[in-house]
Symmetry: C2
Subunit: 249 residues, 2 copies
DNA sequence: TCCTGACATTGATCCGGATCAACTGGATGA
DNA sequence: TCATCCAGTTGATCCGGATCAATGTCAGGA
C-alpha cells in the first residue's frame, strides 16, 4: 500500500495557501496559479458549522486549505449518510452546477480558499489542463465512492472500522507520525457519531468495535481520539481487502 | 420526477449504432461522430459472460449499444457488490487508465461499440467538448454512486427494492410501456441474485420483499420477471426518498 | 470546587435480514 | 413423457447490529 498522499506532495503553493490546489495540474500550474491568485478569497468556518446545505445556491468553488469537512445526505426522517470526507487540498463544488447536491459540514475549524464560479469556469475554458485535471480528480472520487459502496453493502462492522482507520492513515499523512518501532499514531478527526454516519452504523456499534479492536491489541487508545497502530499489517488484515493493498493503492 | 432518459433522447445516431454516443456532446456531434465512425468496431457478448475482469489490460473504450451489463467488485471470500448498472448508451472504460478497475459482466446479450483507446484519447485531446462531456458524465455517475451509498448505508430492504425499481423505470424508458390507466409495466433486466448484489442483500431477502410488495398491491407480478406498477406514486413513497422526486430528479 | 454538557462506553434486549433448507414451477432436452 | 436444471419462493432459525438505557470521562465555566 502506498502512503504517498496529497498532503505529502504539498510542496507547490499558490500564493499564501499552504496547500497545493489539485484542480490545477502540475504541467500548467505556474501560469494558471498566477491567474487564480487574482480570483481567490479566503473563508473560515468554525467546527460544527455547515458550510453549504444541499440545495443552496453555490456561486463558488474552493480548495480546502486546513481542517476537515464532510459531505453528507439526509433523509426526511433524519437518517444520514456521509458520502465524502474532505481533507486539505481537496476540491469543493462543481463547475457547471448551480446548486449544492450535499450538505458540507466542518468537523473541525476549516479554512477554504474560494474562487467565484464564473471566473473559475472561464479560466477552465481557456485552460484545457484544468478540465482534464478535474476529470482525473472526479474519476478518483468515483473510484473512492465505489470502494465505499463495497464497504457499505458487504463489510462487517469490524471490517468497516478497520477500513476507515486505514483510509484515514492513507489519505492524510499529516495526521499521523511514524513513531519508533514501526508504530503509527494519529488523532481521529471524527467523532464516533460522524464515523457511524460514514460507515452506515450506529455510534454504539462504532464504540463497541473500537473497544474490541483495542482489547485484541490491533489498536491502542490514548484518550478517546488518539490512536496508536502497533502493526499496520495487522490492521489491514482486518479490513477484508486484499492484503497487498489492492484497491487501496 | 422526470422520466426523460438517455434512451428517449436517442434520436442522434452515429453510423449504424441505434444509440446516441453520449461521450460526444450535441454541440460537436456532427463532425466528431464522422471521425468516430472511422475508429469504431462492434463486439457482441453473450448473456452471463464477463466482458473484462478487474485488473485486465483494457485497450478500448466503448458505448453500450444494446443489452445490459453490470460493474462489480468481489472480495477474496466471494462477497460481491455491484457498483454500476450499464444500460444502452452508457459509456464503458476510462481514458487515461490502462487497467479495468471492476468486473464488467453482461447480464443479457450485449453489443458494444468499441473505440481503440489510443485514437480515442487523441480525438479527445483535439476536441475539448468530448472531455467536457466526459466530465459531465463522470459527475453524474458520481452523484449516482453517492445516492447509492445512502441506499446501502441507511435504507431498509423494502426501501432498497422500491428504489431499485424506481431507478430502473427512470433510467430506461425503453424497458417499460405506459399502459392504459396510468399503469406502467416492464421486464426486470436482473435476476434476484443480481438485484441482491446491487442492493447489498441476499437473494432470499430480495424475493421476500418483492413478495411483500406484491401482497400489498404496490406491484403486480406476471411471471417472475414482468412487473406491473399500478401506481407509481405509491411505489415512490416506498423508496424513502423525498416524494417530490428530490435527488432522483 | 462543583456543575454542566458533550462525547464516549457498556449493558440488556430486540429485530431485520442472513443463513440453512425444503420445495415449486417452468424451460430444455434426451 | 419424464428427468434435469435453474431461478425463484417460502419456512425455520440464527445472529449481528440496532435500540433503549444507564454510566463514565473530561473540559470549560460559574
Amino acid at each position: 500500500m502506498s502512503f504517498q498522499t496529497a498532503a505529502a506532495a504539498a510542496s507547490i503553493k499558490c500564493g499564501d495557501c499552504p496547500i497545493r490546489h489539485r484542480a490545477v495540474c502540475s504541467r500548467c500550474e505556474t501560469d494558471e496559479l498566477r491567474e487564480l491568485d487574482g480570483l481567490k478569497y479566503y473563508r473560515t468556518i468554525e467546527a460544527g458549522q455547515t458550510i453549504v446545505w444541499s440545495g443552496d445556491e453555490m456561486d463558488f468553488v474552493a480548495s480546502l486549505v486546513s481542517g476537515i469537512a464532510t459531505l453528507s445526505q439526509t433523509m426526511e426522517d433524519g437518517r444520514t449518510q456521509m458520502v465524502g470526507l474532505l481533507l486539505p487540498s481537496d476540491f469543493v463544488g462543481r463547475p457547471g452546477r448551480a446548486e449544492a447536491a450535499y450538505d458540507v459540514t466542518a468537523t473541525t475549524d476549516v479554512t477554504l480558499c474560494c474562487f467565484r464560479k464564473k471566473p473559475f469556469e472561464a479560466l477552465m475554458m481557456r485552460t484545457p489542463h484544468i478540465g482534464q485535471r478535474l476529470l482525473e480528480m472526479t474519476l478518483d472520487e468515483l473510484d473512492a465512492a465505489r470502494e465505499w459502496m463495497l464497504l457499505l453493502g458487504r463489510k462487517t462492522a469490524r471490517e468497516k472500522i478497520a477500513t476507515l482507520l486505514a483510509i484515514i492513515i492513507r489519505r492524510d499523512a499529516s495526521l499521523h507520525l511514524q513513531a519508533d518501532g514501526g508504530a503509527l499514531e494519529f488523532d481521529l478527526p471524527l467523532t464516533r457519531e460522524a464515523m457511524a454516519d460514514y460507515l452506515g452504523l450506529t455510534l454504539e456499534t462504532v464504540s463497541r468495535q473500537i473497544s474490541a479492536l483495542k482489547r485484541e491489541g490491533v489498536i491502542e487508545l490514548r484518550g478517546k481520539r488518539h490512536i496508536v497502530i502497533p502493526d499496520l499489517d495487522r490492521l489491514i488484515e482486518e479490513t477484508g481487502d486484499d492484503s497487498d493493498g489492492g484497491v487501496l493503492t
